[in-house]
Every structure is written in structure tokens, then in C-alpha cells.
């Protein structure tokens, strides 16, 4: 029972090996994100989403644009070191106050590149509720909570 008081959740860590050099992998991940991101399913506006972009600099936005021109922020770049990696805050459909963090790194592995993703900071999902209340944006509901509900296989 005492453990339930703790809220620590380990980071999600993923990696993929791609057959190209780090510079190419970095460019493909960032400049070309609209060409591969599964935005119909993984976005705030879902089927209405037309494009996704990462602004290539510290302070740059990660955002989607819907068919009607509505932009929705997913996060902000806070470290940018091509081709080694970049880091961004992550809060699709949610106030920036309760963000998690996503870090990407690109390392040569022989002729290929190991792309590693670490998504951490889950504890923030339960904090700063006061600030989140000010500017809450219900989009997170669509992406995360509804699909999470599907994932759990429960209806409500």
C-alpha cells in the first residue's frame, strides 16, 4: 500500500537502426517529419490534421496544422545539436504546464545510425494542475485519453 503513494514511472525508451548516416537520419526525423509521422492517428485533430512541423532551433515549436488552419502545439525544442540529437517538451493537446520530455539521439553504428528515443517526466502529468486549469485545452482527450481508453479495452 505504501508504494501506491509513489508516482515514479520509468521512461519509455525506444530505438531503431536505420541504414543511413546520422545527418541524414536527423534531417529525416525533423525536416521531413510531415512525410512519415502517422498524423491521422497520432495527432490532436486526427483525420483533419494536414501537417506536422518541428522548427529547427532552440525555442522552436513542434506543432500540427489542421485542415481549417488551426495550429496545435505539441511541444518546444529546448536542446538542438544536429546530427547528435535534440530534446523537446511534449504535451500534445494539453497545456504546456504539464509537459513530459522527449529526447532523440542519433549515433553512428557502423554504416547505420541508431536512433534512440527517451520519453520521460511522467510525474508531471499529475502536477501543476492549477496552472493547467487556466489554459486547459481538451485536445489531449482525443489523442491520449480516448485512445488510451481503447488501449485499455474499457468503455466509459
Amino acid at each position: 500500500m505504501t508504494d501506491t503513494a509513489r508516482f515514479h514511472v520509468p521512461p519509455v525508451e525506444k530505438s531503431v537502426l536505420v541504414r543511413c548516416d546520422p545527418a541524414r537520419a536527423f534531417a529525416a526525423f525533423t525536416a521531413e517529419i510531415a512525410q512519415w509521422w502517422p498524423m491521422q492517428s497520432h495527432s490532436v485533430a486526427q483525420a483533419q490534421t494536414r501537417t506536422v512541423a518541428i522548427e529547427p532551433r532552440v525555442g522552436g515549436r513542434i506543432y500540427e496544422t489542421a485542415a481549417d488552419g488551426t495550429e496545435s502545439d505539441w511541444g518546444r525544442v529546448f536542446a538542438w545539436s544536429p546530427p547528435a540529437g535534440f530534446s523537446m517538451t511534449w504535451h500534445p493537446g494539453r497545456s504546456a504546464d504539464a509537459h513530459t520530455v522527449v529526447e532523440l539521439s542519433f549515433a553512428a553504428e557502423g554504416e547505420a545510425t541508431r536512433v534512440r528515443l527517451v520519453h520521460r517526466g511522467w510525474e508531471a502529468l499529475g502536477v501543476r494542475a492549477e496552472a493547467a486549469r487556466e489554459s486547459y485545452d481538451g485536445g489531449w482527450e482525443t489523442v491520449f485519453v480516448r485512445d488510451f481508453g481503447k488501449h485499455l479495452g474499457r468503455a466509459s
Binding site: T4, A5, F7, V16, V115, W122, A132, R154
Partner: protein
């Protein structure tokens, strides 16, 4: 299912991070009624983010780590999808 899509529920989860609480303790200092807090707790419980235990006649609520774990598992699968799509793109371009 809108478990985390409500700032009050986020605030309740935040209060529960400190340890199990009874409804009255959770409601204290919140701008909503105790029945409203109970309703939010029910939603959080239904989707597995909060667990309820009983001690005598008192009910206590606590964060359910497995619920948060499932949330994490959901995003884990999201990133798998995204990275697979990325690999296909970058290798298809060659």
C-alpha cells in the same frame, strides 16, 4: 473516457501523490463539492488510475501505479508506431 482531461482530476491525482486520502481530505481546499470529488474519483477509479481501499467504514483512495504504467504502455506503443514509420521513410528514400 476523459480521465485526465479534467483539471480537477489532475488536481486530485496530485493530492494523492502524497499518499492515500479519504474523500473529505481530498475535497478540503478544492473549489468543488464533496459529491463532485466523489464523482471524479469514480472516473479515475473506473479507468484504473486510482485504487480504493476500505478500513472499517472509511474509504481511502490512492494512485494506482499499474494504471500509470498502462498509460506509459500506451505511449510506448505510440512511439513504436512512429519510429517504424520513420524507419520506413528514411530507408525508402535511399
Amino acid at each position: 473516457m476523459t480521465a485526465l482531461a479534467d483539471p480537477m482530476r489532475q488536481e486530485i491525482l496530485e493530492k494523492l501523490r502524497a499518499g492515500p486520502r479519504a474523500v473529505g481530505e481530498i475535497a478540503a481546499g478544492m473549489p468543488i463539492s464533496r459529491p463532485a470529488v466523489s464523482q471524479h474519483l469514480k472516473v479515475l477509479k473506473d479507468c484504473g488510475l486510482v485504487a480504493e481501499t476500505r478500513q472499517g467504514t472509511r474509504h481511502y483512495f490512492a494512485v494506482a501505479p499499474e494504471g500509470i504504467g498502462e498509460l506509459r504502455a500506451y505511449l510506448d506503443s505510440l512511439w513504436s508506431d512512429a519510429l517504424a514509420a520513420f524507419a520506413l521513410h528514411v530507408e525508402g528514400k535511399r
